[in-house]
């Protein structure tokens, strides 16, 4: 267990260092000079050189990296160019929204995928199995940007069941209880769109692992002891079967970010995706860098957390 933990921590540290180098370089790969873009059309070579010196851009690149890293570790991501707002403020607000979307969507995904796959695996090839397997295959082939169109049109424009795009998910003024209510009411539809892709993936993985586990000898033993089917499914079979699904949930976070950007744009929510597209149009290097850094670190930390959970689900993993 100690060896497993120390390996994971070493890998986490190495990856974080490499990601910080990558994000630092991402901006340097892009054409254009930040000093020139800050000064705008009135820039002359002399004023650009002066601003370069002021910003520290004339120093060697490795020195710039360590200065930048020092700022990052002090929680300073710089000032966004057009709006003169600290990057941390911009990211802080949109990050809160994205985390909420991801958490709700993953909660919905597990809530639907786990029971469905457990009961589908009970009788492979049966009616429930065939119906859910083919539905999940169809959903898997349906890109999120097509799903989002149908959902928005049906639930907000046609039926008015949910508030339309552009409703502020973080209202102020009401009591905290009514604020939370409004917030959930606005967030449930985008989260649902985001959850559909995850449901299809989790269902397929857990179902096939469950079918495999249910053929094992310890299940036959449990049956011969006269345990009920529900007890066998939920107490004996789910735990060893869920490793693949949990690992893929970690990888899924990186993929979810594409879906997240689409949902944000379509529902007009001020998340990281909307901020990133705005920052790209405005040549706002520091905001792009900050968003890339925050998103990459989130993905790595989520994967690390899942690595930490896995031995609790199946202790054999830490011993291997």
């Amino acid at each position: 267990m100690t060896r497993y933990l120390s390996q994971r921590f070493a890998a986490l540290f190495a990856i974080l260092v490499l990601i910080s180098v990558g994000c630092f370089y991402l901006v340097h790969l892009l054409p254009g000079n930040p000093a020139a873009s800050i000064l705008g059309v009135t820039a002359t070579p002399q004023t650009i050189a002066a601003l370069d010196r002021q910003l520290g851009l004339d120093k060697p690149i490795y020195e710039q990296y360590f200065i930048w890293l020092g700022h990052i570790l002090h929680g300073n991501l710089g000032i966004a160019t057009p709006s003169r707002v600290p990057v941390t403020t911009i990211i802080g607000q949109s990050y809160k929204l994205d985390v909420e979307l991801i958490v709700i969507s993953q909660f919905i995904a597990f809530l639907i995928a786990i029971p469905l796959s457990v009961y589908a695996a009970r009788r492979p090839g049966g009616f429930l199995d065939q119906a859910t397997t083919s539905t999940s295959f169809a959903l898997f082939c349906l890109p999120s940007f097509i799903i989002v169109l149908w959902v928005v049109n049906l639930f907000t424009i046609h039926w008015h069941t949910f508030p339309g795009p552009g409703t502020n998910p973080f209202p102020t003024g009401g009591s905290w209880l009514s604020n939370i209510g409004t917030n959930l009411y606005v967030m449930i539809l985008p989260s649902l769109v985001l959850a559909i892709g995850s449901i299809a993936i989790y269902f397929r993985l857990l179902r096939s692992e469950m079918v495999f586990t249910l053929q094992e000898e310890f299940i036959t033993v449990a049956r011969s002891k006269g345990l009920t089917t529900n007890r066998i499914l939920w107490r004996h079979a789910v735990r060893p079967s869920s490793i693949t699904m949990l690992t893929s949930a970690g990888n899924n976070i990186a993929l979810l970010i594409t879906g997240l950007f689409i949902v944000e744009v379509k529902f007009a929510l001020p998340g990281l995706g909307s901020e990133l597209i705005g920052a790209i149009y405005a040549n706002d290097y520091l905001t792009i860098q900050g968003i890339a850094l925050v998103a990459a670190i989130t993905v790595v930390v989520v994967n690390f957390a899942i690595d930490m959970i896995l031995p609790l689900v199946d202790p054999r993993i830490a011993r291997a």
């Binding site: 990558g22 082939c141 890109p143 990186a254 890339a292």
Partner: protein, 302 residues
């Protein structure tokens, strides 16, 4: 892949899991391809032929409007089978020429991914040791990085041309192909026939080409098909965000994006590219899955 890009169930699944998934318990491996498989191939052949011979179909020009006010957002008619869009361009024609863009990006992007990822995966599983560990670590980082961010930045600064999209989506599919090929190679690199070939003094190049490569091909074909679907999806997502090829050039993704932003658009205008994309993805994923099951000769099945 980054998030990229590849959206197969297998994305980012570990080697052991790929092997476990290959076993596919509960489903008997198909002895021959079923009817639905041939339907899928038929659909793929149809769109490929239509895209290749688009110039010979006597369609209206996809990018040039007619400037006839009546034809703006017109419903389907005999002259325009799928109607016209907000700039009075023929939707069917844009769909057909859009298939060209989507399919070419998918095809060339997959070729880059398979070329680099496949050869690196085979190489690193064959040599093992430090090179293998180092390469796998680099690929792991690529998998962790949310590719959409890098793709959006790079495209914005390089320009949204077809060739840039191909290169970037191809490169971001490398880690997925790498993992799959590496796992498949590891599985057969320890077999007796490889040891036998090496003991007879065969060079590494010969062993890789003659003994390992033929056994990796089935897995590679299946994942080629999955990657193809993944790249088309990602291109669609970029197009939806307005970050793929730029209008007036059409791709399925930017047609969906354009139609969804236009309140006066007819239903057909959204439905046509969305169904084309959906059917293509179903065909690719189903065909890939069947090929994978059919050619899977893992011991679990013997």
């Amino acid at each position: 892949m980054l998030d990229i890009p590849v959206t197969t169930v297998e994305q980012g699944v570990s080697d052991a899991e790929v092997a476990a998934a290959n076993a596919q318990p509960g489903t008997t491996p198909p002895k021959r391809f079923g009817f639905f498989f041939w339907c899928c191939l038929g659909w793929l052949a149809l769109i490929a032929l239509v895209a290749i011979f688009a110039g010979m179909l006597h369609l209206d020009p996809p990018n040039a409007p007619y400037y006839t006010p009546i034809a703006v957002n017109a419903p389907p008619s005999f002259a325009h089978w799928l109607g016209t869009d907000d700039s009075s361009r023929d939707v069917l024609s844009r769909l057909v020429y859009g298939a060209r863009v989507s399919l070419v990006i998918g095809l060339l992007g997959t070729a880059i991914g398979i070329g680099i990822g496949g050869s690196l995966g085979m190489f690193s599983a064959y040599v093992r040791g430090k090179i293998d560990a180092g390469l796998s670590f680099v690929m792991y980082i690529f998998l962790a990085f949310p590719a959409i961010i890098a793709v959006l930045c790079i495209l914005e600064f390089w320009g949204h041309t077809e060739s840039h999209i191909v290169v970037i989506l191809g490169l971001f599919s490398v880690p997925f192909i790498y993992r799959v090929t590496r796992a498949a190679t590891l599985a057969c690199a320890t077999k007796e026939y490889v040891t036998a070939a090496r003991s007879q003094g065969a060079t590494a190049r010969r062993v890789l080409a003659k003994d390992i490569f033929p056994n990796v091909i089935p897995a590679l074909i299946a994942y080629t098909v999955f990657t193809f679907g993944g790249i088309i999806t990602t291109e669609g997502a970029l197009g939806f965000l307005g970050q793929s090829v730029q209008i007036p050039i059409s791709s399925w993704g930017n047609m969906i994006g354009e139609a969804s932003g236009d309140l006066n658009a007819t239903l057909v205008f959204i439905l046509a590219p969305a169904s084309a994309l959906f059917l293509t993805l179903v065909a690719l994923n189903y065909a890939g899955e069947q090929i994978r099951l059919r050619f899977d000769t893992s011991e679990q099945k013997l």
